[in-house]
């Protein structure tokens, strides 16, 4: 069977890490420390958004990277709903929140407010509500920690015509108490906006299979953080038409 080449343009990306958060146009650096930053609504949104304060730390982490990536891609919050899809890959999921909820059960007072965030997909729902996104949204729980299966699914969504714009990324809590055997989890979040067509982009991302991903046709990518690095080293390019 002939394998298709799937391709899309990277039009924005945003992140939260222990060292910094933001997007290429606006980066907030942190002094050297060992924990992820506490994120406040005003750090990421132009207007107050009460539900942000209610979210668990995992959701804030993911929501913030989505907001930064949307801003970087120039996609604004509007009244009209948009056919944009979202996929996040994660190893830890919301395990930290699970542990917090388990403690409330142990104290015989299970908290409904915490329980609502014991699904890793909840922050995708929050982002859908805030930005009015009505495409596909789901979590991929992966063992490999590279986020590439999510990127593949994002390309598949564009290729199959389901959505022309997809947010895809990774989000992981800083959990040191979980034994993941050989894999090192990079705490933080990173989201890309990839689009079928655009006026300006950081370049293209291609895939021919679940194992093979290429930036700008020929630079092999082995995880999403590497892709962000490549995009960071490249100035935003005017659209010159599809390369395949």
């Amino acid at each position: 069977m002939n394998k298709r080449i799937m391709e899309a343009f990277i039009t924005g990306f945003g992140w939260v890490s222990k060292e910094s958060m933001g997007h290429t146009g606006c980066i907030q650096h942190f002094p050297p420390n060992t924990i992820l930053p506490g994120i406040k609504g005003k750090d990421i949104l132009d207007r107050p958004h009460k539900p942000f304060g209610r979210m668990d730390a995992f959701s804030k982490l993911g929501f913030a990277a989505i907001a930064f990536a949307m801003k970087d891609a120039g996609i604004k919050k509007e009244e009209e709903k948009k056919n944009v899809s979202m996929i996040v890959s994660t190893v830890t999921g919301c395990l930290e929140t699970d542990i917090t909820f388990q403690e409330t059960i142990s104290k015989k007072l299970p908290s409904p407010a915490i329980f609502a965030y014991t699904l890793a997909s909840c922050f995708l729902g929050e982002a859908c509500i805030y930005f009015g996104l009505i495409g596909e949204s789901f979590v991929i729980d992966e063992a490999k920690t590279n986020g590439l299966e999510g990127l593949f699914m994002a390309l598949e969504i564009i290729e199959s015509g389901v959505s022309d714009v997809v947010l895809c990324g990774v989000c992981n809590s800083d959990i040191e108490t979980i034994n993941t055997n050989s894999h090192t989890i990079k705490p933080g979040s990173l989201f890309f906006v990839i689009e079928k067509k655009c006026l300006h982009s950081y370049g293209t991302i291609q895939s021919t299979s679940l194992e093979n991903f290429y930036y700008q046709n020929n630079v092999r990518i082995t995880d999403l953080y590497e892709l962000a690095q490549k995009c960071s080293n490249r100035e935003i390019q005017p659209f010159k038409g599809p390369s395949i």
Partner: protein
């Protein structure tokens, strides 16, 4: 476009250890819901759940892996080049109860990817697979993504394994949210009080035409359409107008190249909660011909199996297409307004070639799958 076929299923539900026991039980209006003895329910809204016989919570192994073993045994051998997608919302969350949460090193079985890895290892698959999690639409979305990967020619076959267990963790959460009924759930009934939790597993093997032919397997059903959409309105409640579900159904019909007029049967999500069931009645009445379409919910019989629900219902739909008989809705006694036009209390003959199955969940997620007898 490559057609996508379901060629094999394995199902374990509170009704019994296979698809036959589920289907027969539903046709004969039986219930698999019972009182929980696995943990103390005196602090919670309900003592009821749909539980699977043979799962032993006193063992060190998570119930999810015990359930996986049952499912794998029923499924039999699978070709090792089959791509694996599991679907679960909380997988081995019971390990959090078994672990000391103050411990410095928690079990990796708590990670959802551990379930996928466990199944891949047991079936000796070449790939480790992925788990898809999107609340109660997880397995419907997993099957939709599997179908899309096959149709696009990325893979020839995908095994979708869907499962969730009844744990005190999830049970206490739904109780705290006030979403659980103190009696077994009564989907679409005017006096419904909420959902009843259940546990279950379904494995669904999907193949393209060439793979099915080469494997000498007669397809059970064709997946002709699928659609996924978000309400973008509320985190824990559906949009009253069902905007996301309508969009998911429209996408599925467009993919299947049919209209809603071609669909005469709907396996609904039908959780038994006020908001979900009202939303679904609105959607079905507004999109389908109430003189032609019949709909049901199986959650009054087996409970809401969360991430497994869609998978179990898709497997059931293959049986409904074969037997041409649609099960009724257990607990549906006094119809909610509008439900009397579409919801069948008892088994009814299936007319038409297609069946639609739908699921919705927290985060505003919705998914729809259309099946056809091959």
């Amino acid at each position: 476009m490559n057609p996508v076929y379901i060629t094999k299923t394995a199902v374990i539900t509170p009704m019994g250890p296979d698809l036959e026991s589920l289907y027969t039980g539903l046709i004969n209006k039986k219930s698999g819901i019972s009182k929980i003895t696995r943990f103390d329910t005196s602090r919670y809204t309900s003592p009821f759940a749909g539980l699977i016989a043979g799962l032993d919570h006193t063992k060190r192994l998570s119930l999810i892996f015990q359930l996986s073993d049952m499912m794998i045994e029923q499924l039999g051998p699978i070709e090792n080049d089959t791509f694996l997608i599991s679907a679960s919302t909380k997988a081995g969350i019971d390990m959090l109860e078994k672990n000391n949460i103050k411990s410095k090193m928690l079990s990796k079985d708590l990670l959802l990817s551990s379930l996928t890895g466990y199944i891949a290892l047991k079936l000796r698959l070449k790939n480790k697979g992925i788990n898809i999690n999107s609340a109660c639409a997880s397995s419907t979305i997993a099957v939709a993504k599997a179908a899309s990967l096959i149709q696009m020619g990325v893979v020839d076959s995908v095994l979708v394994c869907c499962m969730d267990i009844v744990s005190e963790f999830v049970f206490s959460g739904f109780s705290a949210l006030g979403a659980m009924s103190d009696e077994p759930a009564r989907p679409f009934d005017k006096n419904r009080k909420g959902l009843t939790l259940g546990e279950g597993a379904a494995a669904i093997l999907l193949m393209n035409k060439e793979k099915a032919k080469a494997s000498d397997i007669a397809p059970l059903a064709e997946i002709t359409g699928w659609g996924i959409a978000n309400d973008a309105t509320h985190l824990t409640a559906p949009d009253k107008n069902g905007s996301g579900l309508k969009l998911a159904i429209e996408k599925a019909c467009k993919k299947a190249k049919i209209s809603t007029d071609d669909i005469y049967a709907v396996n609904s999500h039908g959780t038994g909660t006020k908001y979900n069931d009202s939303m679904e009645i609105n959607v079905i009445l507004s999109m389908f011909n109430p003189n032609k379409v019949i709909a049901n919910s199986i959650k009054g019989s087996i409970g809401h199996t969360l991430g497994a629900a869609g998978g179990i219902e898709i497997a059931l739909c293959t049986k409904i297409l074969q037997e041409k008989m649609m099960p009724g809705t257990f607990g549906f006694l006094d119809p909610e307004k509008g439900a009397e036009q579409i919801i069948c209390p008892d088994a009814r003959p299936l007319t038409g070639d297609y069946i639609l199955t739908i699921n919705s969940g927290f985060g505003g997620t919705n998914a729809a799958i259309i099946l056809k007898k091959p």
